[in-house]
């Protein structure tokens, strides 16, 4: 088992920087995700950890051992590839046994361990099947068995679910997490799917253009995105551009289109972050403890300005679940017209046009406002205490 440390890791391809100085530590036994859009450098980082490519500068440490230039075949990592990369000319058994053959494990032990690994992923009995005859989901699980049978120090997963259909994806996702927990292997998971990352990870590093934009627990990333990029990437958040002013001693967000959100008065200087919403969150102590060994990106989102929100241009982010449809013309509401209505089963998603500003609202399907149709006039309540002010 291993703790993985990346030390100011950079990678240039032909003078084109793809990874720009990433430093982070993955704890022993942790399920860690690298999340970001394609081209953000997440796969490049994974491949440097696997040893397929070597960093331009910086280092990779497994526990305290520098493995930056150790060849891939001597790192004892198990990798699951995006397209599985199964050996097409071998049977299921031969594929899973490959890593044991390279380790010169005795035949009897090999068949024993292969059988156990296949049992673990629910493929017992398919040993002699040629790989091309398997379904996509089965191939995926052979790849998983092949990666774990060697008892790796580190499990590397490169978008392992992207070739599966939606239903199978969720099932396999949970299976991977379950297996990782059972074996207690440190896992590094690369994905561009935020839901996937949120569901399985202990911690997530959100990447953009070779840089880490936020590194935190899933709930913290979802509820308190540190910047516009993370807010936009993590889902269909409302994201409005405007200015922050102080009016009558209270901070007020004014959108160019006329939308105004009155924010709660700043608290004492002990508030950990600049975002007003943060003040509402009771941060569990253990999160702080696990975050302690992270070298946080110094991109200015750290709790630097804990005083009253500075006045100036900002973005306001608001989860669609935080906004509410209403008929009452009370403070903190704006009038608008329903533009679209999407029924989702448990919830209904609305897009409301409020004087040129588009607002996403999610209502419970059983709620009183759920039956509003496109064209209906409604008011939208925007709770200032749930708004997140982003300067970056």
């Amino acid at each position: 088992m291993a703790q993985v440390t990346l030390n100011r890791l950079t990678k240039h391809f032909d003078d084109n920087p793809v990874v720009k100085g990433i430093s982070l530590t993955v704890a022993d036994g942790e399920f860690f995700s690298l999340l970001g859009p394609s081209g953000c450098g997440k796969t490049t980082i994974l491949r440097m950890i696997a040893g397929f490519i070597f960093p331009t500068s910086g280092s990779v440490l497994f526990n305290d051992q520098d493995v930056t230039h150790v060849p891939a075949n001597r790192r004892n990592t198990g990798m699951v590839f995006q397209n599985y990369a199964l050996f097409p000319h071998m049977t299921v058994f031969e594929n899973v046994a490959f890593g044991l053959r390279t380790r010169k494990v005795a035949a009897a032990e090999t068949s024993d361990r292969v059988a156990r690994a296949l049992d673990l992923v629910g493929l017992a009995g398919l040993e002699q099947r040629p790989v091309p005859q398997l379904s996509g989901g089965q191939q995926q699980r052979v790849a998983l068995a092949r990666a774990v049978v060697i008892e790796p120090d580190l499990l590397l997963l490169d978008e392992p679910l992207s070739n599966l259909d939606a239903k199978l994806r969720e099932e396999t996702r949970d299976q991977i997490r379950e297996l990782q927990t059972k074996l207690g292997i440190t896992a590094i998971y690369v994905t561009h799917d935020q839901e996937e990352a949120l569901a399985v990870s202990d911690r997530i590093a959100v990447m953009e253009e070779g840089e880490c934009r936020q590194l935190d627990r899933p709930d913290a990333i979802y509820r308190r995105p540190a910047n516009r990029f993370v807010a936009a990437f993590m889902g269909n958040m409302n994201l409005w551009e405007g200015v922050l002013k102080t009016e009558e001693g209270r901070p007020v967000f004014r959108h160019a289109g006329g939308l105004t959100v009155v924010l709660p008065a700043p608290r004492s200087s002990s508030a950990p972050r600049s975002s007003p919403a943060l003040a509402e969150d009771a941060v569990p102590a253990d999160v702080e403890a696990t975050s302690a060994d992270i070298t946080a990106p110094t991109d200015g989102t750290a709790p630097a300005d804990s005083d009253a929100p500075a006045v100036g241009p900002v973005h306001l982010a608001l989860h669609p679940q935080a906004a509410r449809l209403t008929d009452e013309d009370s403070e903190g509401t704006v009038s608008g017209v329903v533009v679209t209505r999407r029924y989702k089963g448990a919830t209904v998603e609305f897009t409301v046009d409020a004087a040129g500003v588009s607002i996403q609202v999610v209502e419970h399907a059983e709620g009183p406002m759920a039956e509003r149709q496109p064209g209906d006039a409604v008011r939208v309540c925007i709770p200032g205490d749930q708004a997140i002010i982003l300067r970056d």
């Binding site: 491949r47 990798m79 590839f81 397209n83 990369a85 050996f87 070739n163």
Partner: protein, 564 residues
């Protein structure tokens, strides 16, 4: 109604001419040869075969044995050169790599006879290289010289490694690099992963190249013809038997050679089919490892330059010799008298153009017929649903297994009298027999290229076009044709180029009125007009290069786009 439905509506209109031609020019001649080999002095039986396999006069057996041994040797030598080259150019990056990898296919533009001549002038006993070394070192005799089996082997290695190089390169490009990375990740050393993963995945390509080299080599005529000396080769024996008027033994040897070739083809094909893997999508991009370190780079560069020189030497030799005044190069190491007269005659001597015009005419006629028959047959075999598709496939591919000598003998035997297939005409001694031989020999090239193109063509594309309201002809013109065009064109041009430089069937079938370029080169050579022979060879080389370059240019972009 799709194209197939249109084609089969008046079924007879397509199947009757197709059947007539395949039957008349492929099946009937071969069957007749087999039949005639069973007569000895008018007596039915296996007398001819008894003579062939007679242990007391082993000359015929010796020819067979030598042919097989040289073919096996050619396969080994070609693999030994071609596979490492492909591996190096695919896996490593160094200065000049792209240039070297492109030049590596240079031997392919050398028509058979031209390549052999270049080797003769370069490396034979009176060749320039051994004698230059002799002069430079003051030796009493040339340090080495090429002749006999070794010369044939070396020529084969030089011209045929390209098959291994191309097949292996393509296969390596087709292997998902992630599979290799997976092997590394699981702890395999470079050698272990090469042995257990790369090599097995290259098997189909290796089998394909082995097949091609073995067949080409069994079939090879020009190298033994020039270099064999006292050695016997089966293809050469057939030619001498025919020349000596011993048609009974000529046809018998023809049958033996065909039987060997076809048996080998089927044996390898079964193996090839068993080991074919469809690769899934690519997991990671192919990354070439850069060769670093000054010495390693210097070494790679130097090796590359040596390779280019060796590869280009034959081409340069032919070019040099084309400027030699006829009859002036006798005992000197290098030719002494140079002139541009050999080319000057291009513009003065009207008979100079005749062989070139003949070759072009026959290549155009035979290739046009190849396209008409080959493309139709490919469409029917790939997209058709009728019974007998397999039979049609086999019929069209038969000539592929038949050496050029065999095709020529078959046609001589079949058309030395009037037949319904030649509308009662005797074709031997006429202009037409040679273009027919080209047609038969190169039909499989067009057929293979076309059926590969049709196989890649997704039926739903034509359906989509039809769904959007296109008539079948419009759909064919705007969707099907642009997609299959590059593949068909590539096959067509290859057939055309091969016909231009054809030598094996030509030497058995030509008449003065249709003497092709290769025969003109040979006749100049026999009169020691080395300059004129080389000038023709250069023109042939130019024609071939231009057509191949054009083919590459036209098919590259579109073919790749249609694949992705």
């Amino acid at each position: 109604m799709n194209l197939y439905a249109v084609l089969r509506q008046p079924r007879a209109l397509v199947f009757v001419p197709l059947g007539f031609i395949l039957l008349g020019y492929i099946v009937y001649p071969a069957a007749l040869v087999l039949w005639e080999s069973l007569f000895r002095d008018g007596q039915f039986g296996f007398g001819n075969y008894g003579e062939f396999f007679d242990p007391d006069s082993p000359s015929y057996m010796e020819g067979l044995f030598n042919s097989v041994m040289v073919s096996v040797g050619s396969v080994l030598l070609s693999a030994l050169i071609g596979v490492p080259l492909a591996l190096i150019f695919t896996h490593y990056e160094f200065p000049g790599r792209s240039v070297f990898s492109a030049l590596a296919i240079l031997p392919i533009v050398l028509p058979p006879l031209v390549g052999v001549l270049a080797f003769l002038f370069l490396y034979s006993e009176s060749g320039m290289i051994p004698r230059l070394i002799q002069a430079a070192l003051g030796l009493e005799r040339p340090p080495f010289s090429l002749n006999g089996v070794w010369a044939v082997l070396l020529v084969h290695g030089y011209t045929m490694y390209v098959f291994f190089y191309l097949f292996t390169s393509a296969a390596l490009r087709g292997i998902d690099p992630a599979v290799m990375e997976a092997a590394r990740n699981l702890g395999a050393s470079s050698w272990f992963s090469f042995r257990t993963v790369t090599l097995p995945l290259l098997t189909p390509a290796m089998v394909g190249a082995t097949l091609l080299v073995f067949m080409t080599s069994m079939n090879s005529f020009s190298a033994p013809f020039i270099f064999a000396g006292g050695f016997r080769f089966l293809s050469l024996n057939i030619y001498t038997s025919k020349l000596n008027g011993d048609m009974a033994m000529a046809v018998t040897q023809t049958v033996v050679l065909s039987a060997f070739s076809i048996a080998f083809l089927f044996w390898m094909r079964r193996y090839e089919g068993r080991r074919q893997y469809a690769m899934s999508t690519k997991g990671t991009a192919n990354v070439r490892r850069e060769i670093r370190g000054r010495w390693a780079r210097l070494l790679a560069g130097a090796a590359g330059i040596v390779m280019v020189v060796v590869l280009l030497l034959p081409h340069l030799t032919i070019l040099l010799l084309s400027f030699v005044q006829d009859g002036t190069w006798t005992h000197q190491i290098l030719p002494q008298v140079y002139t541009s007269d050999n080319y000057g005659r291009l513009f003065q001597d009207p008979t100079f153009w005749e062989p070139i015009r003949n070759s072009l005419n026959m290549a155009v006629v035979s290739t046009a017929a190849d396209v008409a028959i080959g493309v139709t047959a490919a469409y029917l075999v790939v997209k058709g649903t009728f019974r007998g598709r397999k039979l049609l496939d086999a019929l069209v591919m038969v000539p592929w297994a038949l050496p050029g000598t065999v095709v020529a003998i078959n046609l001589i035997v079949a058309f030395s009298q009037g037949t319904p297939f030649s509308f009662g005409q005797v074709l031997v001694g006429s202009f037409w027999l040679l273009p027919i031989a080209y047609f038969v020999r190169h039909l499989p090239i067009v057929f293979r290229a076309s059926s590969a193109a049709f196989r890649q063509l997704d039926d739903s594309l034509e359906e989509a076009a039809r769904n959007l309201g296109a008539g079948w002809f419009y759909a064919f013109r705007r969707v099907t044709l642009p997609l299959i065009g590059p593949g068909v064109l590539a096959g067509t041009l290859l057939a055309f180029v091969t016909a231009l430089g054809e030598f094996v069937a030509s030497i058995l079938l030509y008449v003065y009125d249709n003497r092709p370029i290769a025969m003109e080169i040979l006749s100049h050579l026999r009169q020691f007009n080395i300059g004129s022979a080389a000038a023709y060879a250069v023109l042939l080389l130019l024609l071939v290069s231009v057509v191949l370059l054009g083919s590459n240019y036209f098919s590259r972009g579109t073919a790749q786009r249609s694949l992705s």
